[in-house]
């Protein structure tokens, strides 16, 4: 019988690099469905959340000038500082509900890719990550009404 090998990757490390990148790309694509992805935006989210948490921890003081992100949101939306802080924290909680497992999948499946001893195992780790991301996406859509 004649045989023909049509391997996609010449060496294992090439397959691992490919699928590590694919997992990051897929995670990024899913994140971008629920977060505004632009330069510096993740820092803005983190600072807003920290500011809102600090404002809440302080007992929602009447003077919110020490909490610039909360004050800015309250002003721009014409709502109270407490409403602004609670809104920021609610959004963060919603994101954490899906963002945390998403990150868990990303890290775990990438570890599997690194531990793979064949290109096929690396592929299967990526395929599993993709499947996991799909489940999280469906859950997020149902929860967020999207």
């Amino acid at each position: 019988m004649t045989t023909l090998s049509v391997d996609t990757f010449a060496v294992l490390s090439e397959a691992q690099a490919h699928y590590l990148a694919r997992i990051d790309e897929d995670a990024g694509a899913l994140r971008s469905k629920y977060l505004t992805v632009s330069p510096g935006q993740s820092d803005v989210y983190a600072q807003k959340a920290a500011d809102a948490q600090a404002y809440k921890d302080a007992g929602y003081p009447a003077d919110a000038t020490s909490y610039p992100w909360v004050a800015a949101r309250a002003s721009s939306l014409s709502i109270t500082a407490q409403q602004a802080a609670d809104g920021i924290l609610s959004t963060r909680a919603q994101w954490t509900q899906f963002g945390a497992p998403m990150e868990g999948v990303r890290e775990a499946r990438k570890a599997q890719v690194r531990a793979a001893t064949t290109a096929r195992q690396a592929y299967e780790a990526w395929a599993s990550a993709k499947s996991d991301f799909d489940v999280i996406d469906q859950q997020a859509q149902q929860a967020l009404g999207g």
């Binding site: 019988m1 004649t2 045989t3 023909l4 090998s5 049509v6 391997d7 996609t8 990757f9 397959a15 064949t118 290109a119 096929r120 592929y123």
Partner: protein, 121 residues
């Protein structure tokens, strides 16, 4: 219309409209008529046009490989940039990554070229 063909294989080399006798290279012959190379060739024995045949291959797949059988001798099989000739009728194509692969079968001049979409699990 006349046709220049390979006098050993029967493969059509050129179709010419001129009534003048074209110069023939060694190993070439002239048929007085038109032969469409897509579907026909010139039988070197009878020196008459003949219809190309269709491949009647069988494909089976298992994890990481596809086996294509019932191929005529001297079939050229190409997949993913790799190519080999099959003389024993059967080829096993192995791959490291599952997916859809395009497999091209060629057996000049007696068979019509064929492209298969093979999904290897």
């Amino acid at each position: 219309m006349r046709t220049i063909y390979d006098d050993q294989t029967g493969e059509v080399i050129a179709r010419i409209a001129s009534s003048m006798s074209p110069p023939l290279a060694t190993g070439q012959a002239l048929f007085d008529g038109d032969v469409d190379p897509e579907s026909r060739y010139v039988d070197p024995t009878t020196k008459e046009p003949a219809d190309k045949q269709s491949f009647a291959e069988h494909v089976t797949t298992t994890t990481g490989q596809a086996t294509i059988s019932n191929l005529p001798a001297a079939t050229q099989v190409t997949c993913n940039g790799a190519s080999t000739q099959v003389d024993d009728g059967t080829i096993t194509i192995s791959c490291d990554i599952p997916g859809a692969y395009s497999v091209e079968l060629s057996n000049v001049p007696r068979y019509v070229d064929k492209a298969l979409a093979v999904t290897i699990p």
